[in-house]
């Protein structure tokens, strides 16, 4: 129809109407807009054509939407193709092309970004720079995702820059010194990638969807992007022999060989080009055939003759962490030890804008990357290092994308001795999560790692890598960087440190020795007992929260654990971002420490360890029968009393596996007694180790063994059965200490008025119970040695809690139950402030936060069953003396024997002691009788 309209190429279609009628245009886009006649336009003004500040961007969106007039389309698609050709062919022409993220600040978001399109405040822009001059950009937003050229640019070195504009290099035939066919080849590979044909790209038609719908613009200029892969298919008009032969200069061409490791005899730069011709390096093959070396990439191959093969005695030990690659993973560490005449350097792909960080120590070098390197450049020489070849990195497992819709929960039972982790899957299945070290050995085959582990000079750098470089360094700039750092390995079997998946992470190796190597050098001529002492001593230190000079390592250890966990989760297709991490903490942990942990773990649930254990035993806890949970760990024992799902009373005591450790520290030769049970010449190394690993000092021993291995066992075996007295003494100590915990739990039960009940269930949780198994030779971890069992029952009986009513239950997985318990649905338990039964036969000390008959009890109120204020100590400790009656041990100190120690300790440490005073007395007795000081905090 006609009307009062602008010049149209075709009339608008409309049903019958009369002059002067106001009619509706039903299809404004096709029936009007596209018919508007566009003959000419002023090229210089095109940038301002759209009534939007982002006019230029909108124009390119219209180009991709195929909604531009034909002549504008030709012009802009020429510019776009010219820009993309620059990106694609930049390496061939040697142009410095970068893509930089433009960060909009909030002000810019409001003033600029939002104006692109309503609701596009999340716009991302990359600026494309050609030798540091902006020539275009790439927008990534809900509205438009694609490229645009700058409003003006000057690119005199680009052949297809013509008369102020970039043009299509193919259409114009302006490709400079490159044959047009080569350019076409370079651009051809896009065709394989795309499905949609877009008219505006004409002879680049298949590339359009790829080019204009770039979702991850930042990766555009990386090698793994298909756009850039184009260069890999380019046939250069250059003799490949001249490119790829980069052997050491000189008269002779030498092929260097290293045992167990193929070195490809090319330079780093040559390797990068070769790599780009192969499919991610996978198809790169190097063969030595008589006097010829043949190197083949997917599209290229060349041969050359060499004169000589030289063996390399020893390559640096190089490993990479982690052992996988994933798009969303951007933390890789490469470690190598230093050798005198051989050096390695990582070869990375094209710059991604992130330079690897390099940390060099006396013994090693560590690089940190956001993408894994593609190869290792090997250099050799005494004075001047020369490139001799490249080692490829091939064993990284590519991981699939994470399904962000799935949510998980992780139960994290952190212990300074042991840590366990459990995972609740998206299907609500709870399983333990082992953690691998995930180290990929690059120059040393995995099956030979065990050999190097026993060679201290080699192993030291490995430890160095694991402990120092791989770990995050300290945040405060204090001495952290110089400290040796923890490993998390529990070596199930000797030599297997790289492949084992560890369910219980051994953190006792947090030995804060500021020395290198982090173990003692044992003199050749040394008494066997002294040898053992020297070996053990460095590892008896523990990382504890308070009072320990090196406790700040916790700040490094936890992030390290989390990093391992993150890698483990990722290898299982899970992003830590999709996980809620529930965290267990002991009763004794103060608010400040809890806060520290919260800072690491974010928004997950924080649950008492004893509660977590309780959730694990949920069904029983809901019964009418009271339950006592006695969770003995490496340094702390938590005791809780439950009934009908309600936590009635709880207590935290600093008396646990540390009793045994402290004794061993003073009497290391006692270990030999245990090992002496095994006597086969060969087996004596294996079985004792296995037994030791299972037993109490496993955290200590695992470390010792990992350092000294057979040497240590050998020393102990030679030492023979000469210290049985010491072993017996330790057994008595452990009986005394652990029974005090049992006795006290009975006191707690009595204090809440539950002593006259039919039945009591007692759960023995935590890893500390295994000390008894080891010391008393009990191979069955479901129950105690009979003598122990009797003693425990007797402790309850002495409190008039009938032995027949007691049911003991050992935890089958003393550590894992906490981690798993963290993932169980809470049982609705609640802490109850109870009123201590005033008529209870056995009085008990008040605990923190508890009241007795409505009156808050201070520390001094809590000392045994009488009032003790400074010089008004009781003349004797009633409960202690009653407790002593359980033992037939000669010479155990009476109240009066330890009164001085108790008074002294209380006066000296009153601000530190937060546990029931009963144990102040018990510790005093241990100190008096066994000479072992147990710490207060």
């Amino acid at each position: 129809m006609g009307g009062f309209f602008p010049e149209l190429d075709e009339p608008i279609v409309v049903s019958a109407a009369s002059n002067g009628d106001i009619v509706k245009i039903t299809d404004i886009s096709n029936d009007f807009i596209k018919k508007i006649a566009v003959r000419n336009y002023d090229v210089e003004e095109v940038s301002t054509f759209i009534p939007n500040m982002w006019s230029r961007v909108v124009l390119f969106k219209m180009l991709t939407d195929n909604s531009l007039p034909e002549n504008l389309k030709t012009h802009l698609s020429g510019e776009l193709k010219g820009l993309l050709a620059i990106i694609t062919l930049r390496e061939i022409y040697g142009w410095d092309v970068k893509m930089k993220v433009y960060g909009f600040n909030q002000h810019e978001v409001d003033k600029i970004a939002k104006t692109l399109y309503p609701g596009t405040e999340n716009i991302q822009m990359h600026v494309i720079e050609f030798h540091d001059e902006p020539i275009g950009g790439c927008i990534n937003s809900k509205y438009y995702t694609g490229f645009f050229t700058s409003a003006e640019y000057n690119l005199p070195t680009v052949p297809w820059f013509d008369n102020g504009l970039l043009r299509d290099p193919i259409e114009t035939g302006k490709t400079g010194y490159l044959d047009i066919k080569n350019v076409k080849d370079a651009l051809y590979c896009w065709k394989k990638q795309a499905n949609v044909s877009e008219r505006y790209l004409d002879n680049w038609e298949e590339e359009s969807s790829l080019i204009c719908k770039v979702t991850d613009t930042s990766s555009l200029l990386l090698k793994d992007h298909p756009l850039v892969n184009a260069t890999r298919a380019t046939k250069l008009p250059i003799d490949p022999q001249k490119i790829f032969l980069a052997m050491p200069k000189g008269n002779k061409v030498i092929i260097y060989e290293a045992e167990d490791c193929n070195i490809i005899p090319v330079s780093g730069n040559t390797y990068k080009k070769l790599y780009s011709y192969a499919d991610g390096g996978k198809d790169l093959v190097c063969q030595l055939i008589e006097k010829t070396v043949s190197i083949q990439a997917k599209k290229l191959s060349f041969n050359m003759t060499y004169d000589e093969i030289a063996k390399i005695d020893e390559l640096p030990k190089v490993c990479l962490w982690p052992d996988f690659v994933a798009d969303d993973w951007d933390e890789y560490y490469l470690w190598c030890n230093k050798l005198k005449d051989i050096a390695i350097e990582p070869i990375t792909e094209t710059d991604d804008g992130k330079e690897p960080t390099k940390t060099e120590t006396e013994h090693s070098i560590t690089w940190k990357f956001s993408k894994p390197p593609i190869g290792l450049l090997i250099k050799k020489g005494e004075k001047e290092m020369k490139e001799i070849g490249v080692v490829e990195i091939k064993n990284l497992e590519p991981l699939n994308e994470v399904d962000n819709l799935k949510k998980y929960e992780v139960g994290f039972d952190f212990g300074t001795t042991h840590t366990t982790i459990a995972l609740k899957t998206d299907k609500n299945e709870i399983k333990t999560l082992g953690v691998k070290d995930r180290i990929c050995w690059l120059t040393t085959p995995k099956n030979k790692i065990k050999d190097i582990s026993i060679i201290k000079d080699v192993y030291a750098p490995v430890i160095d890598f694991i402990e120092r470089d791989f770990m995050p360094s300290g945040e405060t700039g204090e001495t952290y960087i110089d400290a040796t750092m923890p490993t998390v390995f529990k070596r199930k079997a000797m030599g297997d440190i790289s492949s084992a998946t560890n369910e219980v992470l051994d953190g006792v190796a947090i030995v804060a020795k500021k020395q290198f190597p982090p173990y003692r050098i044992v003199p050749d001529r040394c008494k066997e007992t002294e040898v053992i002492r020297l070996m053990i001593e460095p590892f008896l230190e523990r990382l504890k929260w308070k009072g320990h000079p090196d406790r700040h390592y916790i700040g490094l250890y936890i992030p390290h654990l989390l990093k391992l966990l993150k890698a483990e989760l990722r290898s299982n297709g899970i992003s830590m971002n999709n996980c809620k991490i529930n965290w267990a903490y002991p009763i004794a942990m103060g608010n400040e420490r809890q806060e520290t942990l919260r800072n690491f773990f974010g928004s997950g649930d924080f649950i008492l360890e004893s509660e977590a254990v309780s959730y694990f035993f949920d069904a029983t806890l809901h019964s009418d029968t009271p339950c006592i949970s006695i969770d003995i760990g490496g340094g702390t024992t938590d005791i809780t009393v439950w009934r009908k799902g309600t936590l009635l009373i709880e207590s935290s005591i600093k008396l646990a596996g540390n009793v045994c450790n402290e004794y061993l520290k003073n009497n290391p030769d006692v270990l030999s007694e245990n090992i002496s049970r095994f006597d086969s010449k060969l087996e004596k190394y294996k079985e004792p180790a296995k037994a030791l690993m299972k037993a109490m000092p496993e955290s200590t021993l695992s470390m010792i063994l990992s350092r000294y291995s057979k040497n240590f066992i050998d020393h102990i075996a030679k030492h023979g059965i000469v210290n049985e007295a010491n072993l017996l003494n330790l057994r008595k100590l452990m009986k005394f200490a652990y029974t005090s915990l049992i006795y006290y739990s009975g006191l707690m039960l009595s204090a809440v008025g539950l002593e006259n009940i039919d039945k009591v269930n007692i759960y023995f949780a935590g890893n500390g119970w295994s000390h008894l198994d080891w010391l008393f030779g009990n191979g069955n971890r479901d129950r105690f040695d009979s003598s122990i069992d009797s003693l425990f029952r007797e402790a309850f009986t002495s409190l008039d809690i009938g032995a027949g009513k007691l049911e003991f239950k050992r935890s089958p997985e003393p550590k894992l139950e906490v981690a798993k318990g963290l993932l169980y649905q809470p049982v609705g338990s609640e802490k109850t402030k109870i009123t201590i039964n005033p008529n209870a036969k056995e009085s008990i000390l008040g605990e923190d936060g508890f009241e007795v008959n409505g009156v808050s009890k201070s520390f001094n109120d809590r000392i045994d069953d009488t009032t003790v204020i400074d010089d008004k100590f009781p003349s004797r400790f009633v409960q202690y003396e009653k407790f002593l009656q359980l033992f037939k041990i000669h010479g155990l100190p009476k109240s009066t024997d330890i009164m001085d120690i108790v008074q002294h300790n209380i006066r000296e440490n009153s601000n530190k002691i937060e546990e029931p005073p009963f144990f102040t007395i018990i510790k005093a007795a241990i100190q008096k009788h066994w000479g072992v000081k147990i710490r207060w905090d």
Binding site: F4, N19, T48, P51, V57, L72, Y117, P134
Partner: protein
């Protein structure tokens, strides 16, 4: 219903001028709030429109009664302490503003470097954006915000009206091919839509004017000072494409498309006071479309529709503009003819008569007008308005603008509304002078009144024979004037205007009846 009509840029100013006359002649009868938005606040088109408005308001001030003519009240919006009908979105120092210095954006040099050439970034905005819509959007995004005047006042006014159960409709008029209209049009739409889109009593529509004129940049001129007409159509297409791409976010309920395939050539002026384009029929058509929008049942404004005015395809090709091309043409034609007859009869017959002192002593004068203090001043007001109107009407009828003096331009024979020669004849040689009607011209007017409406050649279908003989025109008017019944409540000048209107109306009825 409250009606708001916003005109934007130079083209918008021309439409505002047309609105004044459409209001004067009673085609646009309702009261309306008006606002003209223009970064080039000194441009000649706006100055002309504001003069027309001033002359109208001067006449309107004489009338307290509701007449068929001069019935519209053009209300300004409050802007701070003052009430104004115009708004400049630029900072005050317009002559030095440009992208590079505009405070909101100057710091983002990298974004600017990507999106605009250096020349464009540094080009000053003192005479507008030279057709650069993207720059216009930079300014409009900054200046047209609900927390700034006059927009906050307008928003509050809308809110008050809606809250009291009233209805508000906004109509925007701007060119789609320039820098100001194309950028400000959607910005205003978005502004109010964001606030009131969910309210059924609020509707917003507009007329987008496509290129209907062109010009040639003189070879000796600095080409960079001019928006380039070759870009008009490409830009129009892209602008509309862009609006359309906003799809569901498009705030408008109705958009009228308006333009002309035959683009009139105008003198090339770079802007400011020199920009003085002659009036064009597209401009008054935009006002008729505004009226259509205001009169449309609200139920028919639920979803965005694009509308246009139908014209026979062949007639469009020929560039013909006829009465039947105008929506509601019978009414429009009648009102145009009546008001033009009024204007000419005033200039040629009534004014000379009324200024005669002897005439004031006549019985007729005393009977019909009575004591009329300061009559001359009031006649001057009327004369000024009619003077402007005739000049405007002539402008609508000229072909290519070959001279800034419309008297020297050719009449476009394709504009078949009025026989425009008479307008040209009575205009003074100097376009800045007022029309001074001589006896000869008075006679000429009298002889032209019965054939004001365009007619084709004798024998053609467009030919008509006037019912009133050409020498009898004034007689007809006078006889009628002597027999009229005029309300005695009217003031003398109201009586006079009423007489002139009634006689002209009767004249038109009589003369052009078939």
């Amino acid at each position: 219903m409250e009606r708001y009509l916003f005109t934007i840029g130079g083209t918008g100013a021309k439409c505002l001028e047309a609105l004044v006359y459409m209001g004067a002649m009673g085609i646009f009868k309702d009261d309306v709030y008006i606002l003209h938005i223009d970064p080039d606040k000194d441009n000649g088109n706006w100055l002309t429109a504001s003069k027309a408005l001033e002359s109208y308001n001067n006449v309107k001030a004489l009338i307290t009664q509701k007449f068929n003519i001069f019935s519209t009240t053009f209300n300004p919006f409050r802007q701070g302490q003052a009430k104004k009908v115009d708004f400049c979105p630029l900072p005050r120092k317009t002559d030095t503003s440009n992208y590079a210095s505009f405070s909101d954006y100057a710091e983002h040099s990298l974004v600017g470097a990507l999106l605009f050439s250096e020349k464009i970034r540094n080009d000053r905005w003192g005479i507008g954006f030279k057709g650069r819509a993207s720059l216009g959007s930079v300014v409009s995004a900054s200046a047209i915000k609900s927390d700034k005047e006059p927009w906050n006042t307008i928003s509050q006014q809308i809110l008050n009206t809606i809250n009291s159960g009233g209805e508000v409709r906004i109509f925007l008029i701007g060119s789609i091919f320039g820098g100001s209209g194309a950028s400000i049009f959607p910005t205003i739409g978005k502004l109010f839509s964001n606030e009131f889109k969910t309210n059924d009593n609020f509707k917003i529509g507009g007329a987008l004017l496509f290129p209907y004129f062109t010009y040639t940049v003189p070879s000796d001129a600095n080409k960079e000072d001019f928006a380039k007409p070759t870009n008009f159509l490409p830009k129009s297409r892209l602008h509309l494409e862009f609006y359309e791409s906003l799809t569901t976010l498009n705030p408008f309920k109705r958009v009228y498309i308006l333009g002309d395939k035959r683009k009139r050539s105008v003198l090339c002026e770079k802007g400011s006071s020199d920009q003085l384009n002659p009036p064009h029929h597209v401009e008054f058509l935009s006002i008729i479309l505004a009226k259509d929008f205001f009169n449309t049942n609200g139920k028919d404004l639920d979803q965005l529709e694009y509308m246009g005015i139908y014209r026979d395809n062949n007639e469009e090709k020929e560039g013909l503009v006829k009465w039947n091309h105008i929506p509601d043409n019978a009414n429009a034609e009648k009102k145009f003819l009546t008001f033009t007859t009024m204007a000419l009869s005033f200039l040629g017959f009534w004014e000379p008569l009324l200024r005669e002192s002897k005439f004031k002593e006549t019985r007729w004068f005393k009977t019909y007008i009575g004591h009329a203090p300061q009559l001359d001043d009031k006649l001057n007001n009327l004369k000024k308005l009619f003077n402007n109107y005739i000049r405007w009407l002539l402008g609508v009828h000229i072909g290519g603008q070959t001279d800034s003096n419309l008297k020297k331009c050719q009449i476009n024979q394709k504009i078949q509304l009025f026989s425009a020669r008479i307008f040209q004849d009575i205009l003074p040689d100097n376009q800045n002078d007022e029309i001074r009607i001589t006896e000869k011209e008075s006679k000429e007017i009298g002889e032209s009144l019965n054939v004001l409406k365009w007619r084709g050649a004798k024998g053609s279908s467009d030919y008509y024979e006037p019912k009133i003989k050409m020498e009898k025109s004034y007689d007809f008017l006078w006889k009628l004037a002597c027999s009229l019944e005029i309300d005695n409540e009217y003031s003398p000048v109201e009586k006079l205007i009423n007489i002139i209107e009634k006689t002209s109306n009767q004249f038109v009825n009589e003369n052009y009846s078939s």
